[in-house]
């Protein structure tokens, strides 16, 4: 889990630092920086995937080993907050711990020039001890290699290791070094790379959810809901998972939903179906809201859960009186599973159903009109928030009337 993140000079962020929990909600007006934060997370995902820095920012076509990687909005040319030549150095720093087995703490920092796609600094630590760090070395910008000091050599020796300058050292180290660095360090780098790569964006499109899945059974669906029905087929194969999944749908449409399943197409390809009162309602006739809720819920029951899941505007298409259920679903799944969730919302009702202990990981995003700089602040650190909410415990009103914006 990522417990701490620092982003500098990226998009609308001059500098932002967040302490994260399992369930993190981001609220704020349009263009306040919420999506830019999610773009920062995608950069970390690209780092974990082992792409070059320019591939991460500008996109990458499908290859034998990877799917299409879409460019970060604006690409390398618009990635930096300060866009002057030579000042487009982006900084990302993350820290957390591995789970569940040994819980070792890790921290990782990378700095690179956006337009050139060239590393400036990089550092990896495990349990407080550095594995590698480039900062003690003066790297020549014109040199095609990038050197780091390696702290895993024999006693007293801290050899310099050379890597490609166009891609993160982290994933280069993860591939193993033919004896230049220890297997334990290659494993730690690989583990962190996998954690960063293991992010899933969920933005289900009703049009996609209404169609037949190409796969027959899968353990993780696509970002737009691709293979949703195949995931349902997988869930339904296990009676307990099916019952748990169905219990949430029943709450969404009480006294209506009896069962859930799939219909088969000409070659057995699945289509999502709800059964209500003995009648079958296949995906094409279901409402956008029902399908979206069914898909988000299914994503939270995937047998192959990501380390981090992002969901933008979770309330889309879901009736206001059912948002309580959505909050409970997110809370319940993050409390039990290994997945960390980052979600945005514009709904005061979603906020109304949060528990006070969740305010520390509910973040208000605001963009300064004159500087264009975004700030992200946990509710608990907004001036006067804690005492105000104690006296008038209606957080939804504070949000809807613009109190939070005015207070920050």
């Amino acid at each position: 889990m990522i417990e701490h993140i620092v982003i500098e000079n990226f998009k609308s962020f001059r500098r932002v630092e967040l302490k994260l929990g399992r369930l993190n909600l981001f609220v704020g007006t349009n263009a306040s920086g919420k999506s830019n934060l999610f773009d920062a997370l995608r950069i970390l995902q690209g780092i974990g995937n082992g792409f070059t820095l320019l591939e991460i920012l500008d996109g990458k076509p499908r290859s034998a080993t990877s799917e299409v990687w879409e460019a970060i909005r604006g690409g390398s040319a618009r990635a930096a907050f300060t866009t002057a030549p030579g000042q487009d150095r982006l900084v990302f720093e993350v820290a957390g711990r591995f789970e569940p087995e040994n819980g070792k703490r890790w921290s990782y920092r990378i700095e690179f020039l956006a337009r050139e796609g060239r590393l400036c600094q990089e550092k990896l630590s495990l349990d407080g001890s550095d594995i590698f760090d480039s900062s003690p070395i003066q790297n020549n910008p014109l040199d095609p290699v990038f050197e780091v000091r390696y702290y895993g050599g024999k006693k007293g020796r801290q050899p310099h290791l050379k890597f490609e300058k166009s891609r993160p050292v982290l994933t280069q180290m993860a591939r193993g070094g033919n004896g230049k660095w220890s297997k334990a360090h290659a494993d730690a780098a690989e583990r962190l790379a996998r954690l960063l790569a293991n992010m899933q964006r969920i933005d289900p499109s009703p049009a996609v959810l209404r169609s037949y899945s190409q796969a027959h059974e899968i353990e993780r669906m696509g970002e737009r809901g691709e293979n949703f029905a195949a995931l349902i087929r997988t869930l339904c194969a296990d009676a307990k998972s099916k019952e748990a999944y169905l219990s949430w749908l029943r709450e969404l449409r009480p006294r209506e939903v009896n069962d859930v399943g799939t219909l088969s197409g000409a070659v057995g390809e699945p289509l999502f179906v709800l059964k209500e009162g003995g009648r079958e309602f296949p995906a094409p006739v279901l409402s956008d809201g029902t399908l979206r809720f069914a898909a988000i819920t299914a994503a939270l029951f995937q047998p192959d859960m990501p380390a981090l899941m992002t969901i933008e505007e979770i309330e889309n298409g879901i009736h206001a009186s059912r948002l309580r259920l959505l909050v409970e679903l997110l809370r319940s799944r993050t409390a039990q599973g290994p997945t960390q969730i980052m979600a945005t919302t514009h709904s005061p009702i979603v906020l109304a159903w949060l528990k006070p202990e969740e305010y520390a990981h509910t973040f208000f995003c605001k963009r300064d009109e004159s500087s264009g700089e975004s700030r992200i602040c946990p509710l608990t650190e907004i001036p006067h928030f804690t005492e105000t909410i104690r006296k008038q415990p209606i957080i939804s009103d504070l949000f809807a009337e613009g109190w939070l914006e005015a207070a920050l």
């Binding site: 307990k240 998972s241 019952e243 748990a244 219990s247 949430w248 029943r250 709450e251 009480p254 006294r255 029951f301 009186s321 309580r324 259920l325 409970e328 679903l329 319940s332 799944r333 039990q336 109304a352 159903w353």
Partner: protein, 188 residues
């Protein structure tokens, strides 16, 4: 128009999984299978005192047009419910109150008595029933992945033996009786 019933819990977050299907079943037994049951979620109630305050002040304006209100708190803090019913009657609201002994969770447990480590009489007397009996039971038999941590599925099982539930929870049998009478009065 179908009958509209407002259910007022002490805490909608988890009590709703028990109370809503229970009330729907009671209404069905009283000849109103199509009644629309609304669980009060706004204002968000957080305890007995808040619930009573809302019943007295905000709710009559907002939900006064509903056919029936049911206030179903835990018995440990419930006081003067008859007076509250009379007070609301004067405002034109048909309110029935029923305090769960000792707490609402007992109504779910009533269908699973053979799985409990304590005898039913002891469960009903235990002032810490939620912590000492219900939560361990939910941990053992509820699927934490399910809605309400398993309450929804377990309550459906309890309702499979509705007569048995009324038998071991006499306050519910009393409520069923009063519910039927109230519906008859309304129809008359």
């Amino acid at each position: 128009m179908s009958l509209r019933v407002l259910v007022i819990p002490e805490d909608p977050t988890y009590n709703g999984y028990i109370l809503k299907p229970l009330v729907e079943r009671m209404l069905a037994e009283a000849g109103k299978p199509n009644a629309r049951v609304f669980l009060l979620t706004n204002p968000r109630i957080g305890g007995y005192e808040q619930a009573v305050a809302a019943i007295r002040r905000e709710l009559p304006d907002r939900y006064g047009h509903f056919d029936l209100w049911l206030f179903l708190p835990d018995a440990d803090r419930a006081r003067n419910l008859d007076a509250l019913e009379a007070e609301l009657r004067e405002k034109g609201v048909a309110l029935l109150c029923c305090a769960a002994v000792p707490e609402v969770e007992a109504w779910l447990l009533a269908g699973h008595r053979e799985r409990l480590s304590a005898g039913w009489a002891d469960v009903r007397k235990n002032p810490r029933m939620k912590e000492e009996v219900f939560e361990p039971f939910l941990g053992d038999y509820g699927d934490p992945r399910s809605a309400g941590g398993g309450r929804e599925a377990l309550m459906r099982q309890t309702l499979l033996n509705f007569r048995g539930l009324l038998k071991v929870c006499p306050e519910l049998a009393g409520l069923q009786q009063r519910l039927q009478e109230a519906l008859k009065t309304k129809e008359a």
